[in-house]
Amino acid sequence: MDLEFTELQQELRDTARGVLASACPPSLVRGVFEATAGSEGADALWATVCGLDWPGLGLPEEHGGLGLGVVEVGVLVEELGRVTAPGPYLATVTQFVPAVRAAGSSFRLADVAAGTCTGTLAVAEHGRWAPGVAATRADRVGDGWRLRGTKSHVVDGATADELVVVARGDAGPGLFVVPAAEVVATPVESLDPTVPLATVELADVEVHGERVLVEPGDPASASAIGRALDEATVMMALSTVATCRSIFEATLAYAKDRHQFGRPIGSFQAVKHRLADCFLAVERAGALAWFAVLTVAEDDDRRPLAVAMAKSAAGDCAQLLSRDGLQLHGGIGFTWEHDLHFSLKRAVTGDLLLGGAAFHRARAAELMGLVPGHEGAA
């Protein structure tokens, strides 16, 4: 097992980091938090991202992509998470695209690659991601399906062009693509406006043809939904760990700089040990996330457990770093004026979206056969 980047991957990372340093400065993020600047900053960033062909980076050339893989997408997800970038990348590339591809479809992928279509994935209901709890219905009408229900916490739910929806028919769950115009999306006022959430209501939306990605009852349904959710989940883990790493770096720099009692606070042993623990948490969660990315990239059997472990570790990491990062910054990190809160809020958001640490540990317990499996899961 080789968990280190290749040279090409390192180059991609360095390039992305360089681009984002100027294309996504803290002032741009502040504009999103304070909604002072309309959406111009975020729009310009998205134009830059599209200009670099990042939306299609991991798509096959036949769909207009660059033909790179999941690992390379992960590299970009890390760099975007690192600077708490706003914009449609996360939902479009790590949620919408994997769902379409897991279903064996290429619906609108060329538009995604061209930067003319954004998307998302609507799974959760009442804030819970277990596919077993999805109550949104899919019922046959003619040669199509009628969807009815309410999805919660859909990333970019009020702005994405296309939404992949998990809905349950009598024979099990299916996957459907619904255009934005057909849903009623209500933005949610949330802690972190860089990952905007919405409640999405489907009031008898009818879908036909290639918008039906996986029909309820299709024997491939569970594995397609599982794969799509796993990819979305591991990418959220990766993004979250990258955000945590930037909290860590900011806190480390602050500990070297801030003096109390005549010495840098980073020279106090208790502060040192907490920073060492934070470093371990970030490295640990990062290594687990990359391992899980590899199981996705190589379609390895260990994927579901690896993803559950990675997301739970990312959650642990987010909890530790949001706590110790803020605590070690002292009062300054508690102010709105300091940039730290962007990453604190992004970290806790990434912890909870697609299921928190305990949810994924419980899932791991089930996958390891330690607790009984439950009924009703996809």
């Binding site: 009442h126 109390q260 809160h341």
Partner: protein, 406 residues
């Protein structure tokens, strides 16, 4: 050792509870005009402080002329307990009533008591506490705001220059209890004095610091002092005794500060337990057991905080020393943070939503409030201010356990 207080104490409790029922501010008026900072006292709060003062319930252990009734510590304790249970704040001006007024009573002149302490006690004025500076947070003794006496100690003026930060309530307070360096040549612990500075004095500029959550209701401020002049008579206590008085005034009601912290913790736990059935119902059994366990853990901590507080209190009330007390600030604020975190985790993604819980005025502004995640972030005010949890551990290790300084 026993579970219940003497009947005589329960009589006081009943008396206060009856009075409280008849005199308390209505939840609707509290919610309509909540305090926006710890220096802000809405009209209902001013009336309420005055009513408690007049009835001798404001500071029960003090003599009647200072708003008390010469009550014993156990009686004071049950008054605080009943206030918390009724969700009525004792004051919004936590520092003013808890630290500034008692310090003036202890160290000030009769005129200072009349003009500064009594207005606080009668709900007519609020005060803020000017301690932290950009370069002196945990390390108060290194503060550099400077005051120079021009003229003689009877009729001259102090001229103050410097900057304070993290000053709670300065954006609404009437005056500041200001720590400044008056003896630049003395050892740093001996060169600090306390001055009373009306906030409308020319040269005082307050810049509110919006906070990580509820940025629209800032409580913390920067206070800039630029050639601020106050009468020489505004010196509290003796020149150079500020550090010693700080340790004295921060010790005020030390036996009691845990009460609000623990009752706040208990209130939060109660809310979490009340929400739990609905939150847990949507989970698979294994996740549910883990979520329940997080709630149990913080319930154990809450019970422990209560027991530790009461054990220490019993020791102090008997005139002994109580190492538990040194743990309480750190432990209770860590627990308060944790209950919010558990609430957020158990609620899940729903806890990312913000702004949904209005300020209903029943908590002091520096207490965690809002949604669970907002409470979580807000709770760092208490694990950071007045000695971070790290500093508290040092204090316990050195003062209580007798470990050598590093």
């Amino acid at each position: 050792m026993r579970l219940r207080f003497d009947p005589s104490v329960e009589t006081v409790r009943d008396e206060f509870r009856d009075w409280l029922g008849a005199n308390r501010p209505a939840p609707a008026e509290m919610a309509a005009d909540p305090a926006l900072s710890t220096g802000h006292a809405p009209d209902w709060m001013r009336r309420w402080t005055r009513r408690m003062f007049d009835a001798g319930w404001l500071v029960p252990g003090w003599p009647p002329e200072l708003g008390g009734r010469n009550a014993g510590p156990v009686e004071t304790f049950v008054v605080l307990e009943e206030l918390a249970r009724a969700r009525v704040p004792r004051t919004s001006n936590v520092q003013g009533l808890g630290i500034v007024a008692p310090s003036i009573v202890d160290y000030g002149t009769p005129e200072q008591v009349r003009d500064h302490a009594m207005p606080i006690l009668r709900g007519e004025a609020t005060a803020c506490l000017g301690m932290s500076e950009p370069g002196a947070g945990s390390d108060l003794a290194s503060l550099s705001t400077r005051a120079v006496l021009e003229g003689d100690p009877g009729s001259g003026e102090w001229v103050i220059d410097g900057q304070k930060v993290w000053t709670s309530g300065a954006n609404y307070a009437d005056f500041c209890f200001l720590f400044c360096r008056t003896e630049p040549d003395a050892p740093k612990h001996r060169g600090i004095s306390i001055l009373l500075v009306p906030m409308d004095t020319p040269g005082v500029t307050v810049r509110p610091l919006p906070e990580i959550v509820h940025p629209g209701e800032p409580d913390l401020n920067e206070v800039f002092l630029d050639s601020v002049r106050v009468p020489a008579a505004n010196l509290v206590g003796r020149r150079g005794d500020g550090w010693a008085m700080a340790n004295g005034s921060l010790a005020h009601e030390r036996g009691m500060v845990w009460v609000n912290a623990v009752m706040g913790l208990e209130e939060a736990l109660e809310q979490l337990v009340a929400q739990a059935p609905a939150l847990l119902a949507g989970m698979e059994p294994a996740e549910r057991a883990l979520a329940a366990d997080e709630i149990v853990r913080i319930a154990v901590d809450t019970q422990a905080a209560r027991c530790l507080g009461q054990r220490g209190f019993a020791k102090l009330a008997r005139g002994g020393s109580a190492p538990e007390q040194a743990l309480m600030k750190w432990y209770a604020s860590d627990c308060r943070q944790q209950v919010a975190r558990v609430g957020a985790d158990v609620l899940g993604a729903g806890s990312l939503e913000s702004g949904g819980v209005p300020n209903d005025g029943h908590l002091a502004v520096d207490e965690p409030r809002g949604t669970w995640m907002e409470q979580y972030f807000h709770s760092f005010a208490n694990t950071i201010s007045a000695g971070t949890s790290e500093i508290q551990r040092n204090i316990v290790a050195e003062k209580v356990l007798g470990l050598p300084r590093g």
